[in-house]
Symmetry: C2
Subunit: 275 residues, 2 copies
Amino acid sequence: MCPAKVNDRYDRGFIIPIGGGEKKVKTSSILNRFIELSGGRDARIVIIPTASRLEDTGDRYLEVFTEIGVKSVSVVSLDQREDCEDMIKLAKLEDATGIFMTGGDQLRLSTIIGGTSVSKLMRKANSEGVHIAGTSAGAAFIPEHMIAFGRGGATPKSGLATLAPGLGLTNKVIIDQHFRERGRLGRLLSALAYNPFAIGLGVDEDTAAFIGPDDVIEVIGSGGITVIDPTDLQHSSMADVGRLKPVCLIGIRLHILLDGGRYDLSTREASPASG
Amino acid sequence: MCPAKVNDRYDRGFIIPIGGGEKKVKTSSILNRFIELSGGRDARIVIIPTASRLEDTGDRYLEVFTEIGVKSVSVVSLDQREDCEDMIKLAKLEDATGIFMTGGDQLRLSTIIGGTSVSKLMRKANSEGVHIAGTSAGAAFIPEHMIAFGRGGATPKSGLATLAPGLGLTNKVIIDQHFRERGRLGRLLSALAYNPFAIGLGVDEDTAAFIGPDDVIEVIGSGGITVIDPTDLQHSSMADVGRLKPVCLIGIRLHILLDGGRYDLSTREASPASG
């Protein structure tokens, strides 16, 4: 599996990892921006509550998107792999202008959706301009390399993060969520230390990275995003150390961006909110 | 108060912040290295247990230094400011080749020793070649700018760290201790964000930074040292944000060094353990 191929005829849709714990209210700047991108009142939003084991998770988002004013919102339940081949569900997804994945457990997303027609459809839809957001587990699932699970802590250790293939909308970032709240810097550094080609995005709660078709990220929300850039990494001892032993890393670049801040994944340049 | 002036006629002694929780045993690589630098069996070691409120803290180090083979070890109790003008205590300190400050509360060290004859003597002694080590609170007290207290968390916030003047052996570093164990990256970043001229050293437990007279740091111990270099900081929003609100920082450089790793405070270059 490779990251979703971008179609030359269309701009890719936004990829929107949210750190979890976003305010599920009509005034949420994150949810409103997602709806605005997807067409405003005329957006056709599909909610995928697969990550959650709670029955009402999808309905909570359905309510808030309806309150925001969207006329067409539906919940598509995918609880088993065979649901992901259901023609009616696929048709609903095919018609969406925005797809939203709730929180829960990212391994539910990857084990149920991974490799199915839903996964192929989502990758193709995003490459053709459909915006895909995910919160918490839904955010973790978005990239090619997903942090499946791990432990907290500020400094990296071998084995602290366990990676698995994700949905694959982009391979340019590895995402961790509830970042500040659960002290996950060590886990994200560990995930990057295996193969420092991607940028690490540590997304705080009630905060989102709006990754545009031009690969410029805009931060929206009340928390921050910790950007970890290993471009200039001179040394990683990950290959030499035992499990859960500390790892030596030399040359990490780190930015902490707040609402309105930007990061360009191509040039790897950060800028604060203007004004 | 300025950082201790280095005397041209002598090499400055080593400055040795230890992250706390070091193994207090005969085989401790940290304690052995400190003793070896200070003259081995012929070292004259003075222990300052001021940071601690426990009566036996000094004696525990006295025992272990004696077990290592040092013939002259003594505990100099400084419990009130007037103790710091006591001629007998000052004479003992004046005769030392190595001085060791125990853990406890760094505000006890700064409030009792700060501005007294003991503090002046320690600064002069270090500039003339006497090695000064401190563990935990003793480590925090070492530099010009001391983290007095603060809160945990991986990302920086305004007011997360409260700075106070320390002993002032160097102004090139700000030190935080129990670093990995207490998740203090946010606190150290906050301390640096006020005025990013110093290098941040986050010292894990059972780990020490041996800062040589050439300002090259060698890491010794079972944990790691997180070096935070704000040299290329392009932006800090510290001046604009409210108390305990997140801070935007762009352009931090970060290294995680393990036993044998080195960091040159002059060139700001890190290198892993060789071999």
